[in-house]
């Protein structure tokens, strides 16, 4: 695909680490609204919200990747609404939105096999800015439709798969 990828990043925090996603994926940043839970969903699927007239799921990346298994939700909790490559709207719960950065996405350090909370397959790579390190998420991979459908069911097996991949 010859799509020119935006080099602008939106950085945010999950736990202590700083993460980034391409700004072109971001549609909106909103505070935590009333979320309607989905009965059979895993713990990291908080439920669904109304995003610009569409029914969009809210996913807590901290729970998804075992960064914080028991987060507290207040009206100051932030949701980043992203649009995936296949045009699905999804809300991501993050700890705080930090900044905007320019990054050359073709010059990233490969993600190490160890040392990050999120398995390398979900990452585009690492970006170093001065003494800061930003982990660039592969949002389309994380929110892959089939994987989400499989993993988001509430069952012992999926919980097992989850902890294994984290």
């Amino acid at each position: 695909m010859s799509i020119i990828e935006s080099n602008q990043l939106l950085t945010f925090k999950l736990g202590n680490e700083t993460y980034g996603i391409q700004i072109s994926k971001v549609r909106e940043i909103l505070t935590y609204p009333t979320v309607t839970p989905i009965p059979d969903a895993s713990r990291w699927v908080k439920g669904v919200i109304n995003l610009r007239g569409e029914v969009a799921p809210v996913i807590d990346l901290r729970v998804r990747f075992n960064i914080n298994n028991d987060p507290i939700y207040t009206n100051r909790t932030i949701i980043i609404a992203v649009k995936t490559q296949d045009a699905r709207m999804i809300g991501l719960v993050v700890d705080e939105v930090s900044d905007m950065e320019n990054a050359e996405l073709d010059r990233l350090y490969p993600a190490p096999d160890m040392g990050t909370s999120i398995a390398p397959e979900y990452l585009k790579g690492l970006f170093k800015k001065e003494d800061k390190m930003i982990v660039i998420l592969d949002i389309d991979r994380i929110l892959d439709k089939e994987e989400m459908q499989k993993l988001s069911r509430q069952s012992p097996e999926t919980m097992h798969v989850l902890s294994a991949s984290a």
């Binding site: 989905i38 439920g47 669904v48 995003l51 007239g53 569409e54 029914v55 988001s152």
Partner: protein
Amino acid sequence: MAVFDINKYRQMFLEEAEDIFETIDTILLEAEESGDMDNETVNSLFRSVHTLKGNSASVELAMFAALAHELEFFMDRLRNGELAFEESMAELLIEGIDTLKQILEMELSGELEESFFHTTKMSLLQKIESFSEDTQEVAALILLEEEKDDFGLLMPIDDDKGFGPISGEFSDKAEEMPESMEEYFGLFDDEAPQRELPPFEDVFGLFDDLEEITMQEAKEEMFGFFDETEEPLSPVATVSADVEESDDDHFGFFMEIEPQQKVKVSLPEKRSEPKSKEALPEAAVDESKVAKKFKADTTSNSIRVDLSKIDGLMNNIGELVIAHSMLSQYIYTMEDQKTKSDLGERLELIDRHIRELQESVMSVRMVPMETVFSKFPKVIRDTAKKLDKKIDFRSFGESVEIDKAMIEGLTDPLMHIVRNGLDHGIESPERRRKAGKPETGTLMMSAEQANGQMIIKIQDDGGGINLAKVTAKALENGVIDEHQAYSMSEEEKAMLIFAPGLSTADAVTDISGRGVGMDVVMSNIKKLGGIVKVDTEEGYGSTFTIALPLTLAILDGLNIRVGAEQFILPLSAIIESIKPEEEMIKQIGDTQSEVLMLRNEFIPVVRLHTIFNVEYEHQKLSEGLLIVVRSAAQKIALFVDEFMNQQQFVIKPLDRNFRNARGIGGATVRGDGTIGLIIDTMNILDKNY
């Protein structure tokens, strides 16, 4: 059988074709840009062209169908992996599709000449050939085409000469016309009718341009002696005038002014001969009527609107409803009584208008099933003819209304089912006689509304599905393994016909048998939120049952409270609700399964709290409410804590951005902007959901 108005069907086909072309174009343009095409894309391309081919053949656009067939053949090889996709193929395919559009336009207007068609087809085939590794096959094809082309090249010479004598034998020519026309439409491959073609085409083409006045003038000019018939123009006279007039032009085209006068003089004489007078109108009436109708249809008082625009409208109304209820909620918090009641009154007015608006938009979307059914008699007649079978087609429930959004997705699968039923289901008259059945097979199609669903049945009294053969084929294609084949029930085996690439037909015909179709049926119906079931009994026929939601847009629902959560229950599913007495609840076996004894019925109780993972407010059934609803196979009683209000909800899909959830059929945006979940009583007990 009554005379078919082919142009009515052509109109429908044209509308469909427009859509399909659009889809194809998008796919191809994407493929060209990315330089890649995955299997799924090739498959959907193939299906699109396949549909075009099939539908065009059924409205007697033979040349278009023939060209579509070539493209389909090419795509089939791409699909099979015989050819690997190359970047430049997208360009070729785009060119091919454009040619197809051109041919369609020309064939519809009657301007398409055989010679032009063959040169076009040839050049396309040559380009296709350049991609082929197995060039021999295509080379042979081209050779074959070249032979035909010779005829095409010869034709104009023949015609030039031919017109002389024809002008002398006008009435004979007219008698010939109907025959040649039929041949032309039906079997374009034959060289025979070519000579008669151009006259017909020209007559047809020129005829459209004639205006009422010209016709009257012509009548006056030529039929002075018809004065008695005067005011109400007898149709026969008018029509014959048309044809004379157009023939005038026709001759004029070739012979300049002089013979035109000659013809005019000679015509009245011929008119006076009763024989030719009868022969000509007979030929002309049908065709001229058709031509007029076709012309009228294009200027008819309706517009074709993209459904997404209506969806957009619907969404806007949905937002309006939400905004309205927000405002209503706000009024309750107001203190000033005067303002409160004034505002309330005006708000009620707005509410009424919104409802009316909603209803009109909904009515735009609803069309009678007849729109769907009317496409079939023609297809069935043609297919039956081709197959040498006798079919009696019956349809019921034409007036049942269906969401237009469904029709587009429904026609294709129905067509596939019908074609399959005719081809493989209903046997030949001899075999039927031997089996002790009437020679004429029956194909029934019915539509009804039941349980808030649209139920469409297609039933044939043919040979049924050979389950052993289907299973064997599925094993061979690796759709299932031996263990699965062994443990499968009859119904499951019958459902195998919906697996991709599975066709038990030994020969590939242009009716069915390429193994596309039944899988398309399944995926199309699923896309509409419906299900397909097939019941078959060998020797006695098959019944396909399709269950669809009535509309994709709006639902009358009841708000219910389950613990701390609220859900929406479709009103259409509710049978009754009761506050159960303790003695009405019986337990079967272990204490887990409870049943409600209601009059003479035992209805299983489903505790929504358990299914939806909500904390119980009351454990005892008698402290809550039971709502008896329709489920897939039986009635069930849902245990809830409280009824709330009844309201209309704009349905939004849950799987658009996420996925479906067990027992949940969709979602909606509530008055306060939050999402409400709509319970799907049909599959609430389905654990595999």
